[in-house]
């Protein structure tokens, strides 16, 4: 089918959804495509985590070429590891996708009690992300609903980056007070960071974003989610909303079906944007988040390994299901767009949006 011209820009589409109105078509928004964008641009995956200017240019180009919503985003999956004193290495070679923690900031319980709050302006990835956001804030394009991002959590995942997920897992049972101490530091850090971003950019056009993969049921139980994740996520979100951030974009990464009743108790704004992995059905998410825009959830492995025709069909099905969601739906992969996904497969998603994404 020939490319169809819509009546709205992508910025207008997202703004319509945020006003709880129907856009002309489903927006196509692979929000986490860092490595894909920099590779597509001719750089390396490591550039996505070390060169703000390259990442911004790469995202801008990919969004234009693939007709995506442009949301300039620099994220750091190893967030809080270096901020609290750990070490990371950048991805290299053919098979590494993201920064990896090479030394955790804490080894023992005593280390946790001795941790000090870092300077949110000068430590870890914050200066680099501030540089990226200052660059992105200099323009606000038609395909761009928000031109500044802030990575503001998730507290459980980031606490686990300070000590390692195995230690964090053990402490939730053996030494809950140690786990809670780490979570408290994480929350305090992100609330301070949110204030810093607000001082610099205000809250208009700024979208806080984070994921919580370590809090998925592939790792912890719903009871542990209730005790060790939910209260802290809620605290961060309530603080962000009180500061004036209108909408929060959360990526509920992985198998979270048993956690959904707890996620549903957390405010994300009016509305929020709730991204889900392929493990949660769109209809299920719509039920638990009736006031939020649902974002997702094409399985990334499908985009990586299947044929363009299969990706096209899977996207069509996702769109068919998503269009039924009354509170609003945005198409995306269910997690990071695989950096080495074939370009033909990514284009197949775009074609499917063009062919099936219109609200008649």
């Amino acid at each position: 089918m020939a490319k169809r011209k819509g009546t709205m820009t992508d910025r207008e589409r997202i703004e319509a959804l945020l006003r709880r109105e129907k856009p002309d078509r489903v927006p196509n928004w692979p929000a986490m495509a860092f490595g894909f964008c920099t590779l597509y641009y001719g750089g390396t995956i490591a550039d996505a985590y070390s060169k703000p200017d390259v990442l911004l240019a790469a995202e801008r180009k990919a969004c234009q070429d693939f007709d995506w919503v442009f949301y300039p985003l620099m994220a750091f999956p190893a967030s809080l590891s270096t901020e609290f004193g750990g070490d990371i290495k950048l991805p290299s070679g053919d098979f590494a996708q993201a920064p990896m923690v090479t030394r955790f900031a804490v080894e023992t319980e005593e280390d946790v009690w001795n941790l000090k709050m870092p300077d949110v302006k000068t430590t870890g990835s914050a200066p680099m992300m501030m540089e990226f956001c200052k660059l992105s804030s200099q323009e606000w394009l038609d395909n761009e609903p928000f031109n500044v991002m802030s990575w503001m959590g998730g507290p459980f995942t980031c606490a686990a980056q300070i000590c390692g997920i195995e230690k964090m897992s053990r402490w939730t049972i053996k030494k809950p007070e140690v786990a809670h101490r780490l979570l408290r530091l994480t929350v305090d850090y992100y609330i301070e960071l949110a204030k810093y971003w607000k001082e610099t950019f205000g809250t208009e056009g700024v979208l806080p974003f984070y994921g919580e993969p370590a809090a998925a049921n592939q790792i912890i139980s719903p009871k542990q989610f209730e005790q060790f994740a939910m209260p802290y996520i809620k605290e961060i979100n309530e603080a962000l909303l009180a500061m004036g951030y209108k909408h929060i974009f959360v990526h509920i990464c992985g198998e979270h079906n048993l956690n959904l009743p707890y996620w549903a108790q957390i405010p994300f704004g009016d509305p929020g944007i709730v991204s889900i992995g392929h493990e949660v059905e769109l209809a299920t998410a719509a039920k638990y988040f009736p006031n939020d825009i649902i974002f997702g959830n094409l399985e990334p492995a499908i985009i990586q390994v299947r044929t363009p025709e299969e990706v096209y069909e899977a996207t069509r099905k996702n769109i068919e299901d998503g269009k039924k969601i009354p509170q609003g739906y945005i198409l995306s992969p269910g997690c990071e767009l695989p950096p080495r996904a074939p370009v033909e497969n990514v284009m197949a998603m775009t074609r499917a949006v063009n062919d099936f994404g219109w609200y008649e």
Partner: protein
């Protein structure tokens, strides 16, 4: 020397100590087992390992999750610290069910799943050669040859690192076509396993052992059929 009834009680307490992740109790009952003459191998397999297998079932039933399994493993290994030297001292040769090389493929450092799989294989009486994480492709090939393991298990969490798997599989098969290869990790499913040329796929740590046992059976049947 413990009576049959007393032995059963001790084995039950060992199993319970692991299942309820009571490390101190695992140590206490391992010592009692030794003091009262219970065969340390039996204490390990029918006591400690039995508790771990029950924990694995609880994990499959979503009653236990990763933190509980890790704690059960801590209790298991605490008891094993006492029983293993006694097994070695007895000169008894444990029946090895099979050998497996395990590792997280190059580019990936997410090893919690692999570590749980390793534990389940050890509990099931396998020799496990754990290569760790971010393992270069050829290391799997070299280790399989060095250990003559019948099975190789590959793990990946990221969609980029899973791309290493078909290459590892190809290189292993080039050297030894008989080796059985199973893969697992969040982005893996039976379709991907088939596409990559793997012989088997494990959805969870507990099912990994069953899958490996099936692969070994197939291997033995092929050899007998020659």
């Amino acid at each position: 020397m413990a009576t049959e009834e007393r032995t059963k009680e001790i084995l039950g307490e060992l199993s319970k100590a692991v299942y309820e992740f009571e490390e101190d109790d695992a140590v206490k009952w391992a010592k009692i087992a030794l003091d009262e003459g219970v065969d340390p191998f039996v204490a390990t397999m029918d006591g400690l390992a039995a508790g771990m297998i029950k924990a694995g079932e609880a994990y499959n039933n979503k009653e236990y999750f990763v933190p509980e399994l890790l704690m059960c493993a801590d209790a298991l290994y605490a008891g094993l610290d006492l029983l293993k030297p006694a097994i070695e001292a007895s000169g008894r040769e444990a029946t090895v069910k099979g050998s497996i090389v395990l590792g997280v493929v190059e580019g990936d450092v997410h090893d919690i799943g692999k570590n749980l799989v390793k534990m389940m294989f050890e509990v099931a009486g396998w020799n496990v050669y754990d290569l760790g994480k971010d393992v270069p492709l050829d290391k799997f090939v070299e280790e399989q040859i060095r250990t003559n393991s019948e099975v190789v298990g590959l793990s990946a969490l990221m969609t980029t690192s899973m791309l290493a798997m078909p290459e590892v599989i190809k290189r292993i098969r080039a050297k030894n076509p008989k080796v059985r290869i199973m893969i697992g990790g969040a982005p893996i499913n039976p379709e991907v396993a088939e596409k990559y040329g793997a012989d088997g796929y494990a959805k969870t740590a507990s099912t990994a052992v069953d899958e490996a046992i099936n692969l070994l059976k197939m291997l033995k049947e092929e050899e007998l059929g020659k």
